[in-house]
Each structure stands twice: as structure tokens, then as C-alpha cells.
Symmetry: C2
Subunit: 331 residues, 2 copies
Amino acid sequence: MKMTEQSILEFIVRSRSKADLRQVYAVGLQIGIGDDAAVWRPRPGHGTILTCDWFLEGTHFLADRHPAHSVGWKSLARAASDIAAMGGEPRCFLLSLALPEKRVGRWLADFLEGLRDAARAMRCSIAGGDTTKRAEILINVTVIGECRRGRTILRSGAQPGDAIFVTGRLGEAEYGLRLMQSSRKKLDPADARLQKHLYPAARLEAGALLAKRRLATAMMDLSDGLSSDLPRLCAASGTGAHIKLKRIPRVRIAKSDVHRGFDASRLALHGGDDYELLFTVAKKNVARIPKAIGRLAITQIGEMTSQRKILLSDGRGNTHPLENKGWNPFR
Amino acid sequence: MKMTEQSILEFIVRSRSKADLRQVYAVGLQIGIGDDAAVWRPRPGHGTILTCDWFLEGTHFLADRHPAHSVGWKSLARAASDIAAMGGEPRCFLLSLALPEKRVGRWLADFLEGLRDAARAMRCSIAGGDTTKRAEILINVTVIGECRRGRTILRSGAQPGDAIFVTGRLGEAEYGLRLMQSSRKKLDPADARLQKHLYPAARLEAGALLAKRRLATAMMDLSDGLSSDLPRLCAASGTGAHIKLKRIPRVRIAKSDVHRGFDASRLALHGGDDYELLFTVAKKNVARIPKAIGRLAITQIGEMTSQRKILLSDGRGNTHPLENKGWNPFR
């Protein structure tokens, strides 16, 4: 199928049948896709949150292993996760897409369906974008969100003594990734072990609730792994941290995989791509933190300290510095 | 130089000496680079304008031919041009950058200096971004602008009978590109013939003035060439157009290049990357359009028609449909 840049854009906005991306959820989106630029206005009393994320073939996904539907879902979900991490709600997004011509047919349709599903789940509307031709699939998504003024949760607000929490279970996405990488045959995308890797969820409900109730002193999302991201939260807040390994909620390894040597603790400490929230809470408010938000578990894993070190107690009586072994493209 | 993703971001935000990108011009930027996302609020009575643009090695520039400083400048200027085309003013931007490790030293410093120069010229602050490693240089820039509510100029507002105008001279960028492509030796980046190609300017003053005075019924920027972009304006407005070749302000070919067969008319009709503004004006307001805005010439080139055709009078008494031969990555 020969498509021009213009017709790709048209395909994106006009494919009403299965993937109508033009569904507008955001009341604030005044001019959407199709002009030189979009025009947006948040609700009164709200600020606009802006974030963008790469999602690149070969770097972040493999076109022959990852279903196009998952690529579409994940490209939006991971960018929206940064909005969750500020305590905001995503409203609309810009899609920059570069494609080889051979991907314009079925692959593009499946990709857009995954993107549409994520957009629908998060009530987030496409507002614009840019498309071009390229030998490999390149995706960049900018998400625009909103948050009530003065309620955004930064990385820099933690104090020594604050309790450290995470949502969900850590290491699940890395487990799925490794299964995909190591499997000789193509795994079923519906395999439960792959869901967190293929279809991560931005923790929007939890982030918004923490912002609304002013419960978190600092927050970020776990994209590169706890051992890489916790030091960033500490650096921004000018603190250290002390976490306990046995407290960390971690991936459950399937019985059939136990013999393959997966280490749930290592996956939980260093695995990336979970998009769970990492946040801190003042001592006086710890009792106000629920055990779960919706069906998402909330777990205390340690506390912030005044010494600028990240310490891990391993449950065998040893406490040592936590090695930074999360995902880093330049390593 | 071995750099991690985090240190590239630090390099970007901390290189104060020559390229302090952290200079904040935008009063509305409340939380800038360094957190999960940025927070932005336009001035009261204004809406937020959003746009993004690819700028890719091999597709949009050649790393061994185009100076890194120009790549930095142009990546921001071309994205900001979409803000000009809405009648808005750019305020801040998100930079997504993927780099090979070998580009992290000198190339990155020069790139950031060019970006800083464009940011300073347009009073546009960096608000965030995403960096990763990649075999080729990939750039995506999202620009956030503002415009007084109800004053944005869309592509869709033109009526039959409206006069069609352009800013500047068309074909200049394509002329520079072809000189660079065809020259055996590396040309001096200061060569006047290359300036429009290497350092295009977003026509912000003209765009904002037309919006402020409510003079333009429709507007867009010329990124792919008049013969590709005029049909888009017409399609959005549900009109046709009739332009006159001899009216079109065109590139001046240097005497030394005349023997090389450059055709100024063809360059002006089909050349891309000029980032001049194309806009329409109701007949009753044509007399209010100045001959120039600042030092930028404003020229009437034809008028909108009710028949859905794009016609060109060639000055030799012939009128025929204008062939769409502008830039298209899928052609």
C-alpha cells in the first residue's frame, strides 16, 4: 500500500471503524488534529502538565516480537505515566510517528487500535502529531495533562523520616521482557506473565488520589527500575533512603519458570518498565495511606534518611549500599 | 566521553557557559526540566498551542554536511513555525533527543548552542524532554505557545474571493539545500545562499500581528512547498485558488550559479523548508495589509476561488492546474 504523509495522517484521523482516535474526551481540547497546531485549555484552577517519551524500534521494542497493538498501547501508557507521577490526569496527546512503507498497512492499523484502546482507557484524545517515512519505526508521544494548581507532586519534596511507598509489584515487566527475549517460540501475547511488559498501566487513579488528599511529599514513576529511580528521587529531595528487601512487593515467578533461575528480588530492585509509582509520605500521614487504591496494592518499603546514601537491608541482617543497576541506554 | 542518559540531561541543563538553556523566558513555566513532567500556565485570557516536529538524521539533515549548530537552531525554529502559523507566540519546548555516543561531546555542545540561540531569539524556554542512545541522531521537538483566546488563525477560514498572501521569498531554502547537495567541497555555513536552509526563521512577528489585528481569515506555514501546502489550505477551507506565477516573490539565484540551471520559479513553487507564512485576507481588508512587517515583505500572489482547483497563471497567457510537487517523504 503506497501512502503519502498526508494520507497516513488521514488514516489516523479517519479510521473510524475499529480505531476512532478522533473520539474527543478532553473538554479542554479546542482545536484538535488537522491544523498547524492544537489549541488546549485546562479547566479553571488547573495547570497544564507536559511530558514526552521516546518509543523506538530496536531500543524500546522489537517489531517482530512485540505485537503492534501492544506498541500502540504502551507508547501512550508510558508517557501518561509521567502525568500520573505528578498527580495529574492526562487529557490529550501528540503522536510523532516515523514508519517504513511496509508497516503502513496492517501494522499501522493494529498500532492505532492499541493506541486507541489506551486513549479510551485513559480518556485522552489525540490532538496532533507529525508523520514521516523512515527505515525503522520511531515513536515519540507528548502527553498533555492537567492538575489542580498547587497540587502537583514533585520529586523534590521528600524529607528525612518520610516513609517510602510503591504501588503494585515490582519486576513484573522485566520478567515478561526476559521471557520474550529468551523464548525460542513466539509467546502468546495473552500470556499472563507478559501483561505488565506488553500492557503497562499508568497509575493515574493512585497518583490523582495522592495529589487530591495531599498525602505524598514527593513522587515519581518507576520507569528504569527502583535502584536507578530511587536515587533520583533522593537527589531531587536532597536526602538518602533506607529500604528493606523483604518489604518490596515483587513479581511472582510462575512455577514452570522457577528452574530457569529468575531472581524475583533482583527483578524487583533493578527491573525497568513497571510504571509503578514511588512516593514518600510524612510520618504523621502514614496511617492515612490505604492498603490499596482500587485493586492496586500500596506498600511501604522503607524510609528517607538525612545521610545521602541509598541503603538496602537484605533480610539476613546485612545493610549495604544499593547498587544502581536499572535500565540505562548508555551503559 | 562516556555519558549516561542522566548526565546528558544534566549536560543539557547545566552547560551554563555558552549555552545556558535553562534561561527562563516564559513567565508561565511553573515547573521546568528535571521532574517527571513540566507544568505550564498561559497568561489569563490566552489558550495553549501545541505542536511537534520530527528532525531526523538522514531524513531532514545530514550530520556530516549540516553544522550541529544549525541542526539545533532549525529543530526548534521549524517547530515554532507552526505556532507562528496559528498567530501565537512560542513560550517553551520539550526536546526529545537520541544520540550515538560519538556525538555526545563536541557535536552535542554545538547542537545545544544552536538550540539555545534559537530559544533566546524566540524567548522560548526548555521545559523538559527525553534522551536515549541510538545509532543515528533523532530529534523531536514539541513547542508550547500561547495565543489570546479566539484569535488563533486556522487553515479552514478562507472564503472564495479572499486574497492570498505570502511572507518573504519562496524557494530560498531549497536553493541552499541543492547547493549543499551538489557542491563537491564543504560550503562555508556563513555563505549567504545557505542561510535560509540552515537558519530558517519562524515568522512570529508577522503571525502575531495578523492575529492581533484579525486580518487573516486562514493561515499556515510553508514547510513542504507552495504547491503542496496551498492545496491543504484550500482543502481545509473548502475552496480552490488561482495564483499568478509572476507575482510570487522568489529566490534570487546568485550570478555565479546561473549557469547551473537553477529555475527560481520552480524553486518558489515546489521548494520546501522556507517556513514562510501563507495566509488569506478578506477583500475588504486587503488595503490594511502592509507591504512589509518589520523587514519581512508581504506579497499578494492570487486569490481563493469557489471551484475546487488550484490554478496557476504562468504569465505567458496560460492558466493550468498547479502540479503538487512539494516535499513528501513517501514519494
